[in-house]
Assembly symmetry: C2
Amino acid sequence: LKVTILGAGSATPSLLRNPSAQLLTDDHESYLIDCGEGTQFQLLKLKAKTSRIKNIFITHLHGDHFFGLIGLISSFNLAHRTEPLTIFGPKGLDEIITLQLKYASTFLHFKLTFVEVNVKNNYNLIDNERITVSTIPLDHRIPCCGFLFSEKPKLRNLIKEKLPTSISINEMRLLKEGKNVFDIDNSIKYNFKTLTIEPSPAKKYAYCSDTAFLPKIVEIIDGSDALYHEATFTNELLDRANFTHHSTAAQAGEIAKLANVKKLLIGHFSSRYLDLDVNLKEAKSVFNNTEIAIEGGTYLI
Amino acid sequence: LKVTILGAGSATPSLLRNPSAQLLTDDHESYLIDCGEGTQFQLLKLKAKTSRIKNIFITHLHGDHFFGLIGLISSFNLAHRTEPLTIFGPKGLDEIITLQLKYASTFLHFKLTFVEVNVKNNYNLIDNERITVSTIPLDHRIPCCGFLFSEKPKLRNLIKEKLPTSISINEMRLLKEGKNVFDIDNSIKYNFKTLTIEPSPAKKYAYCSDTAFLPKIVEIIDGSDALYHEATFTNELLDRANFTHHSTAAQAGEIAKLANVKKLLIGHFSSRYLDLDVNLKEAKSVFNNTEIAIEGGTYLI
């Protein structure tokens, strides 16, 4: 699991940073989280395989988190996309996108499904054999939630060169599940310990933006391998953070510490910060394993 | 009068070109024509004075011509704009923008007025002492019109160092209008020829995008000092141009020739054209005084 930062700026436009968007990628697909204006150009620049994006998650309807969505959908269509696309977002998103497609007389060549997210509850949006994606209710000026991506425990990996050619698919499945395969006489035919290796551990990634300092999310994101938490301001502007329902770098660090996560990525920086040293220093003073979300950067989780 | 190109690409996104937008500037204000995704970042990059933008003109509701508008309006608001803003565009634009402002709970600090344009008729949208802005009905897949900016004849310029200190405002006004000021005895008190110089000539700028080849616009744009005409394709793709209701470079040249304009700017290039030499050559073969609309470039009209 890895995450690529497409934008880590906040609402006021800046030439230094793009508005919020990131691409979370596993072996099977890519999840787009938020989609500020210009996201499609960031994806193009980074040569991202957009056909791998099957699910898009929008936290809330402030423009710096979704104004790029209609352009991305339109461009998918121009590029003759046929893969279905599902968009998870708060009430209103469906209406906004559908209205614009209507006036452009755009007939989509792919199936577009909207799932209206109840941002007030913590529940699963996706739950399949590989991953669950659940909501993280946040505290912002308008309805808003973050998203938690939790990989399911993975199957063991077969050591291909050690496998007999006579092995069946069912037998391989048992080995991958960590079970031995027995002969009719109950002796061990294939030992999973010798024919497979440990899978990579299941990872957990939490995305929390935009939000005021909200300690109650800790129980949801507890033990995450990586947490992206907004840090729009530094503590000098704590009043402004409180007033606008945003967080400071120190508060992001505090959440990371309380939730006992392994790594903290901070982003959603106000355009007033040209250099981010102070922001990083402030978060690190509370939670040492913090990194700045740098646009174009990819972070292993 | 001068025009700065903010975007000269067409719908399919490209890293070479931004979608349609340009800024027409006179001594008093700037007119934004079309507003594709990312226009606000282009304005920022070019350090444009956005408070000078009082009127925005949207040709049609294909996304590459207006997806940047909601972001620009939101950013104007974040920057505490107070100047009123008027947006001229086809039916639907008001609804699309208003819906998004509603879901973002955005309360604008400035007066935003939408004027629904009847794209089928040629008529004046603005007619004041300095300029008229009128519609140019075009032929595209959805309702679409271009815009013609015609400066009014200007007043003569006073030669300040030659003016007597006793001259009144009314007397100066007469001189600027090219009239002499007479004494009580009917002798010439102030001669406009010696106290003023010729004003710069009134200019005419036509913006035609997107459209199929449409010779009937010639009577509207006749004699323009500069014509921006879309040239999405080259003649090799004439069938595609016809099918999609776009023009080729040669067709843009043909319109310029028929309308007897002084200069042609071509733009709205398909992303398939990396190098634009062929496009320029093709237009020039029909109308020699053609230039490529280069992003970031400013063209005197």
